[in-house]
């Protein structure tokens, strides 16, 4: 079993999972916040924010990767700041891969969550308000549970995207085994040399199996979140 994949390939599997999970875990709260602003906010720059969120979807991934490199590279302004002040290195680390995955997944997460927020009945939130709940508390106890299926959908879309994302990642953090070589980068590298298809397909199967497991888990979770409400 362990022979089936090389150590480098195992490392890529582990890294992909790590990158995917961290990317989703860290960006989910931000995605929820952004979705909330887009769904409920009423201010002039709203559509600008909306556009910005969609950008990673619109841009070819290579461009996104390049822009990330220009922004978060070690020599780039934000990257240097993060490194010098906060001691965070993104470039050429798995953290950078997670950032790239998170950014590529972000529009998908935000849309799913935003749709869920927009279908919450505001009269329930009003009712919670009359019972004394502040807006934050209403959000935590009413809105959030009601949009749980949307959040789960967003998270799984994001995770799947993170598992498949390659263009932005390889452009931003390169393809360093054990550090930044995710499954898709490894697959890509195999596909660059003649005769690499078989090895590539093996990794594709691993990637698909992992994502399918996550997908099934998310469906069960979402169903439980909904069933409770309709039992």
């Amino acid at each position: 079993m362990t022979d089936w994949l090389t150590p480098a390939e195992w490392a890529a599997v582990a890294l992909s999972l790590k990158v995917g999970l961290w990317a989703i875990a860290c960006s989910l709260p931000l995605a929820i916040g952004t979705a909330l602003i887009l769904a409920r906010g009423r201010f002039p720059g709203l559509q600008l924010l909306n556009g910005l969120v969609h950008l990673p979807l619109i841009l070819p991934p290579v461009v996104t990767g390049y822009l990330l490199l220009l922004t978060f590279g070690r020599r780039a302004p934000v990257g240097a700041f993060l490194y010098d002040v906060l001691d965070i290195t993104l470039a050429f680390r798995w953290t950078g891969a997670a950032l790239a995955a998170a950014i590529m997944a972000f529009p998908l997460m935000v849309r799913a969550i935003r749709l869920a927020i927009e279908s919450v009945d505001p009269r329930l939130e009003q009712a919670a308000g009359t019972l004394g709940a502040s807006r934050l508390w209403v959000f935590l106890t009413i809105t959030l549970p009601l949009i749980a299926p949307g959040i789960i959908a967003g998270a799984i879309l994001g995770f799947a995207k993170a598992m498949g994302e390659f263009g932005a990642t390889i452009t931003f953090v390169s393809n360093i085994p054990g550090q930044t070589q995710t499954l898709p980068s490894a697959i890509y590298a195999f596909l660059q040399v003649p005769g690499g298809e078989a090895s590539a397909m093996k990794l594709v199967l691993v990637s698909v199996a992992l994502s399918m497991a996550a997908l099934l888990a998310s469906e069960l979770l979402a169903r439980r979140a909904t069933r409770r409400r309709q039992a």
Partner: protein, 364 residues
């Protein structure tokens, strides 16, 4: 405790111009469907921002368009029983009931009492989708009561409930009004509930306040009968329990004489209010004998208001208070009813419903 509302709001097609003051106790808002009742209490709850005006509770403003004050809903400490129940679908009945508990300053109302009164015990672990219409409404009432509000807003809270259940809940609302001193804005189409609970009545017609004032005054005004509905017209008397008779009747003293009613759950000495429907009073020129009605009160005709139809409403002086009686014009003529004429008002004991006898708050 006093609430003052003076707001205007325009829905495009519907204009609300509502101004009234409400003192202690229950203020009933009564009006036809679409007359603006829900709009008013939404404004009080802060769910609707009126285009202009002021809403104050005890003089401090919840809303004041001139001063740009608009207190957020959750700071207004209102408990709101919505016309549609609006339960939280993802929470169980118990969790719905306890939702407001977190924000209590004081848990005035024992949770178990409320659960028992509303018959919710077997439902506590269910989710709202598994409840019947009336059950939902009962949970909604419980949820609002348990949030320990400073002001209770109730929008037709009992419309979905059967008479027996209503009769169980009404005394509870009276207790809230009288002992907890909780002011209540109460929307209802059912004059029975209104007459029993309200201290102040606001009669709404087409978005405008037609009359607002103490309940007894408005109910004994024959001119308002068409607005209230002929069938619902009837004055309230204040009375005091004197004796509980062994055959199950309770004797009350009111300023115009004694009343015998089916068992009233109140200790001797308690003040009560008794609503007597205008159509349930029979007038007789002589004291009748050999009849099944036990109550014969000496009264004097004060006013005879002939309507457009075959009926007439007679305002009667009964001790210090007033009664309204509805009779046919034919009888009025036959009996020669004119102001100043002394006669007898006959009221069957059993025609005064349990629901029409209510506890009386001292200030009412």
């Amino acid at each position: 405790m006093s609430i003052s509302v003076d707001i205007t709001h325009d829905f495009g097609g519907f204009q609300l111009r509502a101004a009234f003051e409400a003192g202690e106790g229950v203020t009933a808002i009564f009006g036809r469907s679409g007359s603006g009742k829900t709009t008013i209490i939404n404004a009080v709850a802060g769910l609707l921002k009126p285009q202009a005006g002021r809403i104050t509770v005890n003089g401090s403003p919840l809303f004041d368009s001139a001063a740009r004050i608009d207190m957020p809903t959750h700071k207004r400490r209102v408990g709101y029983v919505f016309q549609d129940a609006r339960l939280f679908p993802h929470l169980t009945v118990l969790q719905n009931l306890r939702y407001g508990a977190r924000f209590h300053r004081r848990p005035t109302l024992p949770q178990d009492d409320i659960i028992q009164m509303l018959g919710l015990a077997p439902l506590l672990s269910r989710h709202p989708t598994a409840l019947s219409g009336g059950e939902k409404q009962r949970v909604a009432i419980g949820r609002a009561l348990l949030s320990a509000p400073d002001l209770l807003l109730m929008d037709e809270p009992l419309a979905a409930l059967d008479t027996a259940r209503k009769d169980e809940i009404l005394p509870y609302l009276e207790r809230l009004r009288d002992t907890a001193g909780l002011p209540i804005l109460y929307v209802s189409h059912a004059m029975t509930e209104v007459a029993r609970l309200a201290n102040t009545l606001v009669l709404l017609e087409n978005g405008a306040v037609r009359r607002a004032g103490p309940l007894a005054d408005l109910l004994s005004d024959p001119d308002l009968a068409p607005l209230i509905g002929l069938r619902d017209t009837g004055a309230v008397l204040t009375a005091r329990v004197t004796t509980h008779h062994p055959d199950g009747l309770t004797e009350l003293a009111c300023s115009g004489g004694a009343l015998l009613l089916p068992r009233v759950q109140a200790a001797p000495g308690s003040p009560l209010r008794v609503r007597i429907h205008a159509h349930e009073i029979m007038l007789s020129l002589t004291a009748p004998t050999g009849i099944s009605a036990l109550n014969v009160l000496p009264v004097t005709v004060e006013q005879v208001r002939m309507g457009d139809g075959p009926g007439a409403i007679v305002r009667l002086r009964c001790g210090q208070e007033h009664l309204l009686a509805r009779v046919t014009r034919r009888s009025a003529t036959a009996m020669g009813l004119v102001p100043g004429l002394p006669c007898h008002a006959i009221v069957k004991s059993v025609s005064v419903a349990q629901g029409d006898v209510g506890a009386l708050h001292s200030t009412a």
